[in-house]
Amino acid sequence: MMTLTSSKDTGRRVRGAPAAAGVKPPRGRAKPSGGTRGQGLVAHVFLLPWMIGMVAVTAGPLIASAVLAFTDYDLLSPPQFIGLDNFVRMAGDERFWAAVRVTLVYVLVSVPLQLGFALFLAVVLDKGLRGLSLYRSAFYLPSLLGGSVAIAILWRQIFGENGLVNHVLGWFGLELGSWLQDPSLALSTLVVLNVWTFGSPMVIFLAGLRQIPEELYEASMIDGAGRVRRFWSITIPLLTPIIFLNLVLQMISAFQAFTQAHVVSGGSGGPLDSTLFYTLYIYQRGFVNFDMGYASAMAWVLLLVIAAATAANFIVSRRWVYYGDE
């Protein structure tokens, strides 16, 4: 393994053709003598807790919700099978489509912003400055507050009619009302909230940066590569599995964004459904209107959409994500 990290030639490989990074060993050598099937047994020993969890904890509710999607279930009386009615109803439900719009906009805008922000700060806070751990902690603080009840009040304080943001805008002669009560602005405050809590992807990026062998940088420095060049030719390619990971995780979590919208809008998704996130609507149908069949159907539609988006991500990832094990 030392050959990988110490040879000058590695740096060149990474820089030149990242897709082929790492020595691609003859596959046969990587496998134990028993071949593919031989590791099946061992793998299942490792997977024992996961399998128990899957069967005992996860599968039941998962299947239950799948079944409920085809029923009329008010939580009180036994579910009634109604075939595809829930799905048909969705097609004609204005609020459903409002929720779809809000969620898509949110995913498309807030995920890239948050990830860009997180990556940028992770690189800045990676090394080379005193007190970095202090800065990291400070930047992580907002994320610690999470979806706490305090957020609702803080956000009103910042984006309310006499809040901080309007105060600052006032210096430039802009007079706005409460952002949270304006249907064209309310969603943007939740995007800001998401970007503000960029701590989690930042920490993942930091961890990913630490995985990059120092020797690669040394090698390329010997080659005379500058800082910017090193960033694009080593950091970014080697970080791609982690960028991909963050992209998938943040995308999934943005599709499912709930707590912050719930807290900030007081559960209504208002004004005029402008912050009615998909899961918030699921929650309203299930927990407020006792319409759990419909809520389950909506949840499975969401699952299919997220799965498709994730699969697309995985397929596209083959073009830009470089694994050390390939």
């Binding site: 030392m2 050959t3 990988l4 020595v23 050598r29 990587a30 496998k31 134990p32 590791q39 061992v42 793998a43 490792f46 997977l47 024992l48 996961w50 969890g53 005992a56 904890v57 996860t58 039941g60 509710p61 919700s65 400055l129 751990s133 902690s137 400070a138 930047f139 603080l141 907002p142 610690l144 999470g146 979806g147 706490s148 009840v149 305090a150 009040i153 803080l154 304080q157 910042i158 503000w196 920490v203 993942i204 930091l206 961890a207 630490r210 995985q211 990059i212 020797e215 982690i242 990971l245 995780l249 999934i252 709930f258 699921i282 299930g286 809520a295 389950s296 799965a307 694994y323 094990d325």
Partner: protein, 277 residues
């Protein structure tokens, strides 16, 4: 040299200004927690006319039990969850990332699927399951799943980290005669320390902030976790109790901030000091 120290100073200034901007809401909250509760929303300036500690004193005992009890409960659940996730997710991730077997892709897909379904439609069947088992008002419904690798996010995270490790490492160990367990234990685990620390941090913080699960499974006040206790401080109908809620929110941030400051140091010491000599 002078130029570089100047640029360093500039970076510090930029960072400090940026930090202040980012944590302004928290500073406002901190200041507000020292204001009399009825002035928080009517006198919103950053410089209070009147300072009081009563929010802290009142909040500490507001629910009939000292707040330290809820901090302790959250700590217990947080630590238990961390242990559970480290144990179960690392085993699962190693198998899915490194071992060759037919179902590995299917399992990974299945795992990812479990995080794609909004939990609001899962929570009721799950509640029924745990209620049938008589586990309401115990920490089992909150902890047991962690030991059974149900937090798919961390499986995925660890899979990605393991996959970014060069295969040559395992192969070298394999040539030395190590089996999968030895390789997992002696090669992979030490090398994935950043991922383990990340998992530790997120598990701890997410369970610390988790609200819905503890709300449903813990109905006795003595068992409450911090978020459930915080929510109980504010009366949604009258908005009273904001001051005590702010005070206790900030107080309960202290343990997780300390935890983060401590834990993030170990992210630094990843591969650079391990594995590769």
């Amino acid at each position: 040299m002078a130029a570089s120290s100047l640029s360093r100073a500039v970076r510090h200034v930029v960072l400090v200004v940026f930090v202040l901007l980012m944590i302004y809401p928290l500073l406002w909250m901190l200041v507000s927690s020292f204001k009399p509760s009825n002035l928080i929303l009517s006198q919103t300036g950053l410089f209070p006319a009147e300072i009081t500690l009563e929010n802290y004193a009142d909040g500490w005992d507001a629910l009939g039990s000292p707040f330290s009890l809820f901090l302790g409960n959250s700590l217990l659940i947080g630590v238990g969850s961390v242990i559970g996730n480290l144990f179960s997710c690392s085993l699962t991730a190693y198998a899915l990332a490194r071992l060759n077997f037919r179902m590995s892709k299917v399992y990974l897909a299945l795992t990812l699927m479990t995080i794609m379904l909004p939990f609001h439609v899962l929570v009721i069947p799950q509640y029924i399951l745990f209620a049938e088992l008589g586990w309401i008002n115990t920490y089992i419904p909150l902890l047991l799943p962690k030991f059974l690798a149900t937090d798919a996010v961390f499986i995925f995270l660890m899979v990605q980290f393991i996959r970014s490790l060069p295969r040559e490492l395992d192969q070298a160990a394999m040539i030395d005669g190590a089996g999968p367990f030895r390789i997992f234990w002696s090669v992979i685990l030490p090398l994935m320390q950043p991922a383990l620390i990340t998992t530790t941090i997120f598990t701890f913080i997410w369970t610390w902030n988790d609200y819905f699960g503890p709300l449903l499974y813990l109905t006795r006040t003595e068992l409450y976790t911090v978020p459930v206790a915080l929510k109980s401080l504010v009366d949604t109908e009258t908005q009273s109790g904001i001051g005590t809620m702010f005070a206790m929110s900030l107080l309960s941030l202290v343990p997780i901030v300390l935890f983060f400051v401590f834990a993030q140091r170990y992210i630094i010491k990843g591969i650079a000091t391990t594995g590769i000599k």
